[in-house]
Every structure is written in structure tokens, then in C-alpha cells.
Point group: C2
């Protein structure tokens, strides 16, 4: 079994309205030293695979096909044997 921890973020030049909204709310709450906020996704997936290379290939496939939008998002992941 492997646990994949997947981080999906918007590419740096892509506009991030969610992040801007969070930054505005933090400023209103008094956190005025916040200069930038980028919002992304964090997904944990458990895989019933015994082979690390196989698990890596599968998770890359999932990111490319479903989890991330490769046009506007970057992703990276870590695999942990469980």
C-alpha cells in the first residue's frame, strides 16, 4: 500500500480570485503583513500497489487525467509506503 500526498497549485501567472479574496479577508481581520495568498488543493490517495514505480506511474496518470488541469495548474506529489 502507498499513500500519495498530492499538491495542486495554480501556475504563477494565473489569476487566483480565491487567493485574493482570502487575502482581503485576512487584511480585514488585522493580518496586514500578508502580501500574497495562493489557494490550491491537497489530496491524499491510498493505493493498493506493492511497487513504487507502478504507484508513481498511476498517480501521475491520475493527476494528468483528472485531478489537475495541466493548462493552468502545476502538481507534485510524495509517495509514502504504509
Amino acid at each position: 500500500m502507498y499513500l500519495a500526498k498530492i499538491y495542486i497549485t495554480l501556475k504563477p501567472l494565473v489569476n487566483d480570485p480565491q487567493g485574493l479574496t482570502i487575502r482581503g479577508a485576512l487584511h480585514n481581520l488585522g493580518f496586514t503583513t500578508v502580501t500574497s495568498v495562493r489557494a490550491g488543493k491537497y489530496i491524499e490517495i491510498q493505493l493498493d500497489e506493492n511497487n513504487r514505480e507502478q504507484a508513481q506511474l498511476k498517480v501521475t496518470g491520475m493527476c494528468e487525467k483528472l485531478l489537475a488541469n495541466p493548462v493552468i495548474e502545476n502538481y507534485h506529489f510524495e509517495l509514502e509506503k504504509i
Copy 2:
């Protein structure tokens, strides 16, 4: 300046309909070895602080007051000097 990388996940016993939907979609795409999916949030915040303790306090405050719902979510974060 500090960069805070914040990970927000649902507590283990909380129902995760988004995760279940992603798992269903992955199964339909042929990724049948996926046993569990938990969806969470990943937020990057840049802070104009010079002191690590101060930055840590601020980010904890942001998580408690706005970013996470402490009733159903856990959070942890890393601070990186930039």
C-alpha cells in the same frame, strides 16, 4: 519575509463527499487500485515578518480564525524564510 505552506484536511472521521466522488471517477477511469481519497486544501501565504516566532503566531491565528474550521478540519503548516 516568510512563506507559509498550509495544509488543511478533514478530520479522519468526517465524511468526505468530494473525496468519494473523486474515488468514483478514478475507478471509472480504470484506477481500480485506489482504496481511499481525502480532499483538502493547500494554501501558500507570503508574510512580511522578520521574526519566525511572530510569523508562526500569525499563521496559527489565521488558521484558527479564517482558513480552517477547527470543528471538522485539522491543519498544519511549514514556514520557509524567503
